[in-house]
Symmetry: C2
Subunit: 166 residues, 2 copies
């Protein structure tokens, strides 16, 4: 993968023009990425923020509010509002910590898990179609570039989730 003369085998993929295409691709793709769950959420009284909370509680059952905060990157007040409605509606259960009573441990109820499945099914359908259309090699590249784009802090969070150590 290395080459003669200067530094690069054709660094043409690093031109401003190529980068611009990548930037626009991210913009348009993200719209598609969120479109299907958004449609489901629209019917209910929920929004994208609720989806994110549900997703990560599902991923890491028993996680604390603080933990969730650092993953979502919003203020606790903002998260709290979302969490409150989810708890009121019986989708999320909040248990006072055994060891540290200041902490609240979060779990999806059966009803919450049901909505989670519905949302992630919808999102996966599109994702699977895209993966299948692009093929395994492309998917690997896709993941590599995305990881390289993350802030270091978030990359660590992502990798922790990825490897199952919630």
């Amino acid at each position: 993968m290395r080459e003669p003369g200067a530094g690069g085998e054709s660094l043409l993929f690093l031109t401003d023009e190529q980068l611009r295409k990548g930037i626009e691709a991210m913009f348009f793709a993200y719209r598609g990425f969120t479109a299907d769950p958004d449609r489901i959420l629209d019917g209910l009284d929920y929004g994208r923020a609720h989806h994110r909370a549900i997703h990560f509680i599902h991923r890491s059952p028993g996680t604390t509010v603080n933990n969730l905060l650092s993953i979502l990157g919003v203020t606790k007040q903002s998260l709290n509002r979302v969490l409150r409605t989810l708890i009121e509606d019986g989708l999320v259960e909040s248990r006072v910590g055994k060891r540290d009573k200041r902490e609240r441990h979060l779990f999806l109820t059966a009803k919450g898990a049901e909505l989670e499945r519905q949302l992630s099914d919808a999102q996966r359908v599109r994702m699977r179609a895209a993966y299948r259309a692009a093929g395994p090699a492309a998917v690997q590249g896709f993941r590599q570039v995305l990881e390289a784009m993350m802030d270091p802090d978030l990359r660590r969070q992502y990798q922790a989730l990825k490897e199952g150590r919630a």
Copy 2:
């Protein structure tokens, strides 16, 4: 989930687990993607909505309001609010159409172009680092998967931009 003899060289990359990783990668990467411009915008009185308008006006100088609307996928009221402040602040110029006087053609002023450069420079720095780290093959896969994720309508918009026919 797969039948042995049939079509697939290991379709393991289509498992729910792999898809979930891709979904989370999109989430975390998009945060990084917008982080640098957001920091710049924060200082000024602008937000992400202004950035998007500026970006696409820069990309397609002379584009009409309607055109921009269909690319951004927001309502005209929403866009108008953003556009109004940009025009008031002298970053964007709106010229009445020559052929069709109902239309307004949008252009960046020198000042607008200056901000655009600042914003896209910041965004490109990260993008370039990610591309370089991942390599050209990964970048190609990245773009392929993103394109496959887009809604068909948006994909058409994206390809039109990509090919320069604004």
